[in-house]
C-alpha cells in the first residue's frame, strides 16, 4: 500500500466524524484532527477501531494517544504495516 493510499484511507475513516467540512477539503498531513477537523475527542476511540479493522492491525492505547495530526495517524499505521 502506498503512502498516498494510506493517507486517503485515513481521511476516509475520519470523514463522518469531521465537524469542519472546509478543513476536510484542504486536508494535509499537517491537519490536526481535533483542532482543525473539529472531531469530537470522544470519537477518537471509534476512529482507532476503524483503523484496526481497515488495515488489520492492532493499535495500543499508548500509541493512539500520540496521534494529533492526520500525518501522525498515517505514520503510525505505516509502522504497524511494515
Amino acid at each position: 500500500m502506498t503512502h498516498q493510499e494510506v493517507f486517503q484511507k485515513v481521511v476516509g475513516v475520519l470523514k463522518p466524524y469531521v465537524k469542519n467540512e472546509a478543513a476536510l477539503s484542504n486536508v494535509s498531513e499537517a491537519t490536526n484532527i481535533l483542532d482543525d477537523l473539529k472531531v469530537n475527542s470522544a470519537r477518537l476511540v471509534d476512529v482507532v477501531l476503524e483503523f484496526e479493522d481497515l488495515f488489520e492491525i492492532q493499535i495500543a492505547d499508548a500509541d493512539a494517544d500520540k496521534v494529533d495530526t492526520v500525518g501522525d495517524a498515517v505514520s503510525l499505521i505505516e509502522a504497524k504495516l511494515s
Partner: protein, 428 residues
C-alpha cells in the same frame, strides 16, 4: 409567580404519520399505523404486531450529520426529529453549529419509558459478555443513558435552560408536559420542548409479551389489533415514536406574534400508592379520580367545561375501569359523558412516547375542531355499553370543541392528567 403557558409548536413521529399535517389527516381518517413485524414471528412472540414509524431514516439523513447518526438509536432519532419539528413549527430556525448563541431561556423535558434497549441488546450486552468491551467504542453511554435524547437535543438547538429526561412509565410524556409547563409558569423558563419518545425494539416489547399484556389474537389483522374499549380487546399493541410540544409563556408568544394552538390550562400528577386495588401494574381507581379532579382544579375548570376526553385506554381489562373513573371524576351520568377516544386504537401504546404523541393528537383535535375516531370498538365492551354514545367510530366534527382533557397512567400506579383549551383571540 404564575404565568399562562401556551402551545406554539408541535412535532410528531408516529406509526401512522411522520409529520404534524400527516398525523392530523391520519387521525381524521382513523388510519391505523400498526403492522405485522416478521422479527416478532421469528422470535416466537405471542404478539406479532407493533407500531413502528415508517421511512424515518430518510428524515434522519436530512436532519442529522454522519457523526450524530453514529450515536442515535431509534429512540434518539424519533425524539430529536419530533423536537426539531416542534421548534421549527414554533417559528424558530435551527441554529448553525458555528453560532455561539445559547438559548438560555429555552430548555427541554423529554422523557422515555424504557429507552435504548436496542443499543443494549444489539451491542452493549453481546460485546461485553464476549470480552470485547474495547470494541464498544464511544457511542454506547449516550445512547443508553436515560437523558440521552435531551442530551443530544440540547446540542442540536443550543438549549441553555433546564434539559432533562423524566421517566414515569406510560405517563412519562404527559408528565413531561406538566413539568415543562410548571417551569414556565414559575418564570424559570420562556420556552420548553416537552413530551416523550420511545424506540422500536423487540427488546423493549419482550417483557410485556412475557407478561401476557399484549394482544395475541389479531396477528393476521394488524390494523384491527389495537381494540380499546371493545369486548374483544385482548391486550395492547406496542408502539413507538415521539410527540413533542413547544410550550411557551403567553408573554413570549404574544411578544413575537407567534401562532398559538392552545393554552395549557393546568394538570396534575399523582400515584395511587399500590393501595385500594392499585398495584405495580394496575391503577388505584381513587388515585385516578383524584388526579383528574386535581387537574380540573389546577386548570380552573368545572366538569361541565370538558368537551372531549383523550383517554389512556390501552385495550386491556383496565379500559372499563378507566371509563368509569372518568364519569365519576367528571360527575356525569353515562349518557352525559363527553366524547371519549383512544389514539392508541390507531398507533398502539407508544409507552414513554404515548403521552407526547397523544397530547399532539389532542391539540390537533382542538385546532381542527374534531374528535378522531376510536377505531376497532364496534363491539363495545359490555361494561362500557352505557357510555357507547360517547365513543366516536368515525371522525366527529365538533366546531364548538374548546377544552380537551388527556390522561396517562403507568406501571407503578402513577397518573398524569392535563387540560388544554383552544386558543382564541378573545383569550387575551
Amino acid at each position: 409567580m404564575t404565568r399562562r403557558v401556551v402551545v406554539t409548536g408541535l412535532g410528531v413521529v408516529a406509526p401512522n404519520a411522520n409529520s404534524v399535517s400527516g398525523f392530523a389527516q391520519a387521525l381524521r381518517e382513523g388510519r391505523s399505523g400498526l403492522r405485522f413485524i416478521p422479527k416478532l414471528q421469528e422470535l416466537e412472540f405471542g404478539c406479532r404486531v407493533a407500531g413502528v414509524p415508517q421511512d424515518v431514516d430518510a428524515i434522519a439523513a436530512r436532519y442529522f450529520d454522519a457523526d450524530e447518526l453514529l450515536a442515535m438509536n431509534s429512540n434518539h432519532r424519533y425524539g430529536c426529529i419530533a423536537a426539531l419539528d416542534a421548534w421549527t413549527d414554533a417559528g424558530f430556525a435551527r441554529p448553525e453549529r458555528s453560532d455561539p448563541h445559547v438559548y438560555w431561556e429555552a430548555g427541554a423535558v423529554l422523557g422515555t419509558g424504557v429507552g435504548g434497549l436496542d443499543t443494549a441488546g444489539e451491542r452493549l450486552v453481546p460485546y461485553t459478555d464476549s470480552g470485547r468491551v474495547r470494541r464498544l467504542g464511544s457511542t454506547i453511554v449516550e445512547q443508553i443513558m436515560n437523558s440521552g435524547v435531551t442530551a443530544r437535543l440540547s446540542g442540536l438547538l443550543a438549549l441553555g435552560n433546564q434539559v432533562t429526561s423524566n421517566s414515569s412509565a406510560c405517563s412519562t410524556g404527559t408528565e413531561a408536559i406538566l413539568e415543562g409547563a410548571q417551569r414556565i409558569r414559575m418564570g424559570l423558563a420562556e420556552r420548553m420542548l416537552c413530551g416523550g419518545s420511545e424506540g422500536s425494539s423487540h427488546y423493549v416489547w419482550a417483557g410485556f409479551d412475557a407478561m401476557r399484556v399484549l394482544c395475541r389474537n389479531f396477528n393476521d389483522a394488524p390494523e384491527r389489533a389495537s381494540r380499546p374499549m371493545s369486548a374483544s380487546a385482548g391486550g395492547f399493541i406496542p408502539g413507538s415514536g415521539a410527540g413533542v410540544l413547544h410550550l411557551e409563556s403567553l408573554q413570549s408568544a404574544q411578544a413575537r406574534c407567534a401562532r398559538i394552538y392552545a393554552e395549557v390550562l393546568g394538570g396534575a400528577v399523582n400515584c395511587g400508592g399500590h393501595r385500594g386495588g392499585g398495584s405495580m401494574t394496575a391503577p388505584n381507581p381513587d388515585g385516578v379520580q383524584r388526579c383528574i379532579r386535581a387537574a380540573l382544579h389546577d386548570s380552573g375548570l368545572v366538569p361541565a367545561d370538558i368537551d372531549a376526553i383523550n383517554g389512556h385506554l390501552t385495550a386491556t381489562g383496565a379500559d372499563p375501569k378507566e371509563v368509569g373513573a372518568w364519569a365519576r371524576a367528571l360527575e356525569c351520568t353515562p349518557e352525559r359523558l363527553p366524547p371519549i377516544t383512544s389514539t392508541k386504537s390507531m398507533i398502539g401504546h407508544c409507552l414513554g412516547a404515548a403521552g407526547g404523541v397523544e397530547c399532539v393528537a389532542s391539540i390537533l383535535m382542538l385546532d381542527g375542531g374534531f374528535v378522531h375516531p376510536s377505531i376497532n370498538c364496534e363491539d363495545v365492551h359490555p361494561e362500557i355499553a352505557p357510555y357507547a354514545a360517547s365513543i366516536p367510530h368515525e371522525v366527529r366534527a365538533m366546531p364548538q370543541l374548546r377544552t380537551i382533557i388527556k390522561a396517562g397512567f403507568g406501571f407503578g400506579d402513577v397518573n398524569a392528567c392535563v387540560a388544554f383549551r383552544k386558543w382564541s383571540t378573545t383569550d387575551h
